[in-house]
């Protein structure tokens, strides 16, 4: 169409199957359906965007009319958006070991019930397990005649155990989510683990706050990478001036042994075969040997900010793509777990994650462990509960002095701009000096 420099269409249809079992009661179970599309147009200034529920694919005059509507919106924008050239192409979606669609919902419910039942214990007052399976059929086309289509299935479960004694209420929470297929079989141990943690926390003390040495387990260190570095490296925030990393490429902000990567192309929970604007996905080394190396980009922010690659645009069905993390991790080092605890000597060992948050413009982050242990003379001793970490991005990374040799990844979801997308975070065990630990314990 005349006047249109670029358009793309991302149409996602699919279904979500869920099961919710609460204290042995199947509260709900079933399947819902969705059909959502987003059309984006550039015609000289900024984006004109249409978000459409129940989109019916069309061509000719009908499609042109939609482009014209989007053009009309674009005309009220003021910024001159330029898109960088970027490689196109799509990775294969890995085959699933067992397709969840081949398993009846009755069997799924029975297996989930087994996990939930395994979380029961005399001191556990509530057990709850959820299963979710989301199948997305994605179709992408753009004005440069790029066209992709793929199908992704993500499925997994959460199990919660709540223990209570004399008014003290504590919880244990385990989860497994995967792109590799059905994963409800042989998982009762996860239910038992949730219960064991909840019960053990009844006897745990509140963590004392202050600066100390901390050992972070791979899950929490992964959240650290995500919150402390990942968000601040997102090209849109850098462009807006809302990241403390802006203008600091080449600056050393961490130890030599610290390298932090985001890679949408690896087969973890944040995998995308192609990004949400049709760009081939690739690995970005955000921090390389302690130095700020590159940012995460879409085509717009790459053209505006530079320093990195596009391919990090992600979107919920029917939503406009944003620059997002996918699989974010601290590279493994060469320290053994034993060496890390020995080096720590006295401090705190933090395990698991209750999530985190960052203010990337200010460079302040906060996240919470599920629980921890005091480290005394290199050994884990007393269990502690409700312990969090906070810090400043440009200062804290210097404190990571040892990275273990045992990286593992954990699945989760990340929220930004009202959109939640699947991600994974990971790391080896790391030693963090001068960690600012929050807890309500007192001497």
């Amino acid at each position: 169409m005349p006047g249109i420099q670029y358009y793309d269409l991302r149409h996602v249809t699919g279904q979500v199957t869920h099961i919710d079992i609460d204290n042995g009661v199947v509260e709900s179970a079933g399947t819902s359906f969705f059909n959502k599309a987003v059309i984006r147009v550039l015609s000289g200034t900024g984006w004109g965007i249409l978000q459409i529920d129940n989109y019916v694919p069309c061509t000719g005059k009908k499609f042109d009319a939609m482009l014209e509507s989007a053009c009309g919106l674009a005309r009220i924008t003021q910024e001159n958006v330029i898109l960088a050239e970027a490689p196109h192409g799509m990775l294969a979606v890995p085959p699933m070991k067992e397709d969840p669609r081949d398993v009846s919902i009755e069997e799924k419910s029975s297996l989930l019930s087994g996990i939930e039942t395994a979380a029961r214990h005399p001191l556990v007052v509530n057990t709850r397990a959820n299963f979710i399976e989301k199948i997305e059929h994605v179709r992408f086309t753009d004005s440069s005649e790029n066209e992709y289509g793929y199908q992704m299935c993500r499925s997994g479960f959460n199990v919660l155990a709540v223990a209570s004694r004399n008014g003290n209420v504590q919880m244990g929470y385990e989860r497994e989510h995967s792109i590799h297929g059905f994963n409800l079989r042989h998982q009762q141990s996860q239910g038992k683990k949730a219960a064991d943690i909840a019960v053990a926390l009844l006897d745990a003390g509140a963590a004392k706050s202050g600066k100390m040495r901390a050992v972070l387990d791979p899950e929490l260190a992964g959240v650290f990478a995500h919150e402390a570095i990942g968000h601040a490296s997102e090209g849109d925030l850098v462009k807006e001036g809302n990241s403390v990393l802006k203008g600091k490429t080449g600056q050393k902000i961490g130890n030599e042994n610290l390298t932090i990567i985001d890679d949408p192309g690896i087969y973890e929970f944040g995998f995308d075969p192609v990004d949400a604007e049709g760009v081939a996905v690739s690995r970005t080394e955000i921090i390389k040997k302690g130095v700020i190396n590159a940012f995460l980009h879409n085509r717009e922010t790459l053209a505006s900010v530079g320093n990195g690659v596009a391919g990090h645009a992600r979107a919920m069905p029917g939503e406009s793509p944003l620059v997002r993390m996918s699989n974010t991790f601290i590279e493994a080092g060469d320290a053994t777990e034993h060496e890390i605890f020995e080096e720590c000597q006295n401090g705190i060992f933090l395990k698991g994650s209750r999530g985190g948050q960052v203010d990337p413009g200010r460079g302040i982050f906060q996240f919470n462990a599920e629980y921890g242990y005091l480290i005394e003379k290199g050994e884990c001793t007393t269990m502690v509960r409700d312990v969090s970490l906070s810090g400043e991005i440009l200062v804290t990374l210097h404190g990571i002095t040892l990275c273990g040799n045992n990286r593992s990844m954990s699945p989760g979801y990340c929220g930004k701009g009202g959109q939640s997308v699947p991600v994974s975070d990971g790391a080896p065990h790391v030693l963090l000096n001068d960690a600012v630990v929050g807890g309500s314990g007192v001497d």
Binding site: G30, F34, Q51, N54, Q78, V169, M171, G356, S388
Partner: protein, 434 residues
């Protein structure tokens, strides 16, 4: 065409469903919106959306099934999926969906003066930028949006309710050096939002928070803004008032009915019929006529919130507290306009640590109430005036316990989402300096 004619398929759906199940309910949402996003001081994108979708709930011999879709023409497939889903659910005591009652047709959260058009959004953006120019901080990003939706609830008991809703949402982020400021506003009514103030407050907090000073670790009297208080209240305290969490063993307040759970000056209630409030509705998400629910009166816990399902299971009455997270979500227990009230006074006469916002409240332990959050836009405040900004510190404590040490509520309240909250002064809270 009259609205009800346009949704004649719902009658047909209900008719077909009753051949197989005892009861059926349809929740249908259709809406439109327009928005514009700022990147720094320029509009980077403009969006319109056309939203449409419905959820079906079936009940048969106490088994509750559900499904949802965007596609109205596929209602039969969706109905079949809902019925199949019910076959899996554990049966429970069920005393029926609500019957129709005569309710005022006057909408509570609808402003017929709102035009869902791009020029209106641009005007809002320009006013935010005008306010933002009051202080030297730079605008990083912002957004203005207008929305309108029609919600229809129909069930096999004859309920045919529709309600119209409008919304205006504004937000602005600002940066000054290494400090940030964020402000927002939302209302169903155009004249209830103040775009100039949103812009001004965002750049004010970014500017004034720069060059903050450290604070020593210790116990301080603090003043939580409605925003900061809302983060802690909404993530921990409010969920503990849900009847479902109470009966499932997930609420620390479960054994506290009739007991003091806050300072005696505190009252908490849900008032769904408040004029011009964001969450006002005449019927809840499953058609129960709404009414005020007094949770806490002068510190004493009086009741919990119930939807039909939880009420039937545990021998209680619904408090009309059913909410849905969109057309596809099943009803669950929530609130409409959650109000914290009590004796109002001057809360900033004496020197306090003022906390405008917190980072990480969602990581609090919702069972025990323990939390540790990073302070955001915190200041020393004296005689109501912002004094020295505090650079970086954590606040840790227990959301339930701190309600016993509330020493004052500000005279003004503010809507934070569907909560209406004052600033809250709390004595002797633990701050961890850096």
């Amino acid at each position: 065409m009259r609205w009800w004619v346009a949704v004649a398929w719902i009658d047909q759906l209900i008719y077909e469903a009753q051949k197989n199940v005892d009861e059926v309910e349809v929740f249908f949402v259709k809406g439109t919106s327009v928005s514009a996003d700022l990147k720094q001081k320029k509009i980077n994108l403009a969006t319109t959306s056309e939203d449409c979708g419905f959820g079906i709930r079936t009940i048969h011999k106490g088994r509750i099934g559900s499904s949802s879709t965007n596609n109205v023409s596929q209602w039969r497939e969706c109905l079949n999926a809902a019925i199949a889903s019910g076959n899996l659910a554990t049966p429970q005591d069920w005393e029926g969906l609500p019957e129709t009652v005569s309710l005022s047709p006057a909408p509570l959260s609808f402003d017929d003066s709102i035009r869902i058009e791009p020029p209106v959004v641009i005007d809002l953006i320009e006013k935010m930028l005008e306010g933002a120019a009051e202080h030297p901080a730079e605008v990083a990003a912002g957004s203005a949006s207008l929305s309108s939706s029609t919600v229809t609830l129909a069930n096999s008991k004859g309920v045919r309710y529709t309600s119209q809703h409008t919304g205006v949402s504004l937000s602005l982020e600002a940066v000054h050096g290494h400090s940030t400021g964020y402000e927002f506003d939302h209302s169903s009514f155009f004249d209830k939002v103040d775009p100039v103030l949103v812009g001004e407050r965002a750049t004010f907090f970014a500017t004034e928070s720069d060059n903050g000073k450290d604070i020593a670790t210790g116990e301080y009297d603090i003043l939580l803004s409605p925003l900061a208080y809302g983060e802690l209240l909404g993530n921990v305290f409010v969920p503990a008032l849900s009847g479902r969490n109470v009966h499932a063993g997930r609420s620390r307040l479960a054994q506290s009915l009739g007991k003091n759970v806050t300072d005696p000056q505190i009252t908490m209630y849900d008032d769904p019929l408040l004029e011009k409030a964001n969450g006002s509705v005449r019927w809840d998400a499953e058609g129960t006529p709404t009414r005020r629910v007094d949770f806490i009166r002068e510190g004493i816990l009086e009741t919990f919130a119930y939807d039909l399902k939880t009420a039937y299971r545990f021998g209680k009455k619904s408090t009309a507290s059913a909410k849905r997270g969109g057309f596809g979500g099943l009803p669950s227990i929530g609130h409409h306009n959650f109000v914290v009230d009590g004796k109002r006074n001057e809360v900033a006469d004496e020197r306090v640590v003022y906390v405008h916002n917190v980072v990480g409240a969602h990581t609090a332990n919702p069972m025990s109430g323990e939390f540790s959050v990073e302070l955001s836009n915190a200041f020393w405040m004296e005689e109501g005036e912002f004094d020295v900004p505090i650079r970086s510190a954590m606040l840790s404590g227990n959301v339930f316990d701190l309600h016993h040490t509330i020493s004052g509520l500000s005279k003004e309240s503010r809507a934070i989402g569907s909560m209406i909250l004052p600033s809250v002064k709390i004595n002797k809270q633990h701050i961890i300096g850096k």
